[in-house]
């Protein structure tokens, strides 16, 4: 699954676009985050990490299809 990473999350993952291995077609956001934290433990130290799915903020229960557009959203700081 292709995952966009921004800001400090991009620094931690090492790339603006990561190819995240997914065995199942569907995964809940909370389970995706568990897998993500295993691969990139430094993400756990962020004050927050939101996940967007198809340009909308997702909840922990949102189901991601591996073909969705997924992004890692660390705390925002625009303005």
């Amino acid at each position: 699954m292709k995952v966009h990473a921004f800001g400090v999350a991009k620094d931690i993952t090492g790339a603006a676009m990561i190819d995240f291995p997914m065995e199942e077609t569907f995964v809940k956001v909370k389970d995706f985050k568990d897998l993500l934290y295993q691969k990139y433990p430094d993400l756990i130290n962020l004050p927050s990490l939101a996940i967007s799915v198809n340009l909308f903020y997702a909840s922990e229960e949102t189901v991601i299809n591996k073909h969705d557009e997924v992004a890692l959203i660390p705390p925002v700081s625009g303005g």
Binding site: L55, V76, G78, G79
Partner: protein, 138 residues
Amino acid sequence: MESHIAITTDINIADAYQMLVDPKSGGICTFIGTVRDLNNSKEVNNLFFEAYEKMALLKMEVLAEEAAQKWPLNKIVIIHAIGKKEITEPVVFIGTSSVHRDAAFQSSRYLIDRLKEVVPIWKKETYQDHSTWINAHP
């Protein structure tokens, strides 16, 4: 209500203002966020902004629609800059025009506050000897 939403490398303030001019409006309120030289007593050299552009533009559109539902607005302009920005440069422009000033003041305040909370844009501060991403919200 007409809105103009954009993410750009350089904000042209005069052009942004012209987009708010409206014969039915008796008040135009603008807020311009700029780069300042100190943060937490540390001397800032410059800022760098990065956006998740597709989602940021969508969120900014949604905020404009929310503001238009809360207040009687004729025009809304929301522009955010990306890339490297030096001290004093504008990084965000919020503008609202309305029949009366109350709606223009309140809605511009609402738009900048909400933008800072939800729009996926990130700021990296560069000081004399290092740089760091700012974690503002939440």
